[in-house]
């Protein structure tokens, strides 16, 4: 009975440890994908094997290990390299229009479709 208990406990510890490691790895991969490789053509840090990408991967790994949050890592790197390193630029005064444009177009498009449909239905009625 004691042996089974020990085995069960060992299994639980191993699985929880593996899960923590997997979570860290997933977070790291997510961050790599959101970072632009500055020395490559259209590649993210995740896709690149360049020296720069390897260094950034190593720095991100250290920072997640030290408990830094995803947003903190992005802001650290954007402070050092500018927003250009981020694939998803943060919401700033300069980029308000950029973020709002898709929604504005969506609303305008919805209005256009609404009026066209309204008119078509009216014509069909008469």
């Amino acid at each position: 009975m004691k042996k089974i208990k020990v085995l069960f406990l060992t299994l639980i510890i191993t699985f929880s440890f593996a899960k923590i490691l997997k979570a860290d790895e997933d977070l790291n991969n997510k961050i790599y994908k959101n970072l632009r490789c500055l020395v490559c053509q259209g590649q993210s840090i995740a896709d690149s094997n360049s020296d720069f990408a390897q260094t950034i991967k190593s720095v991100v790994k250290d920072q997640t290990k030290n408990g830094m949050k995803e947003d903190e890592i992005y802001s650290f790197l954007s402070e050092k390299y500018g927003d250009w390193i981020l694939y998803k630029p943060p919401l700033k005064n300069k980029s308000y229009i950029l973020w709002a444009l898709p929604y504005i177009f969506f609303i305008i498009g919805a209005f256009i479709i609404f009026f066209i449909l309204k008119k078509t239905i009216k014509i069909r009625k008469y």
Binding site: T55, I56, E79
Partner: protein
């Protein structure tokens, strides 16, 4: 009604053309504009050939500090070296060299062969410390003032034009 429709379609097409042409014209390369005017991080660097460390806070003692990232394996570093020696000789400026991902013996040979423009040489064996300075390749050079704020950042080898600019900034010409 038909006229309004036509005008709206034309405006829309015009807007799309302008947006795309602006997007195509925009240079998609890394720019140092976001880094200039910001202070460098406070970090400790191991010193080369010495059992000591340098905290970047200590650079406040200097009116201006030129931080140069170099390695013996980097060909452009060799090319810019004479310009750094010139700056050391002619400018009221301290040059801190950061030896980047290099072998100590090769770095020592490089300095012995070409001369030493640096008042201190720090080590960055794995390149991680250089990330705190926003370095993405070498050679790179950062000019900071007494408040540790980046005044200018040079990507690539420093040329005569850059030397003139640095001397102008530090008030020598």
């Amino acid at each position: 009604m038909r006229k309004i429709k036509l005008i709206s379609i034309l405006i829309f097409i015009f807007f799309i053309i302008i947006t795309f042409s602006m997007g195509l014209k925009k240079e998609k390369v890394y720019d140092t504009i976001d880094v200039v005017g910001k202070p460098i991080s406070e970090i400790s660097l191991n010193l080369f050939n010495e059992n000591n460390t340098l905290n970047t806070n200590e650079l406040r003692k200097n009116k201006f500090t030129l931080i140069n990232f170099w390695a013996s394996w980097c060909a452009p570093c060799r090319k810019e070296h004479k310009n750094l020696l010139f700056l050391k000789k002619n400018g009221d400026i301290k040059i801190l060299g950061v030896n980047f991902k290099d072998k100590k013996s090769n770095a020592n040979k490089f300095i012995n062969d070409l001369g030493n423009p640096f008042y201190l040489i720090a080590l960055d064996e794995d390149g991680k410390k250089s990330v705190s300075f926003g370095v993405y390749g070498i050679p790179e050079t950062i000019l900071i003032n007494q408040d540790l704020v980046v005044v200018k950042k040079y990507i690539g080898a420093i040329d005569k034009k850059d030397v003139k600019e640095i001397l102008k900034i530090v008030g020598k010409k």
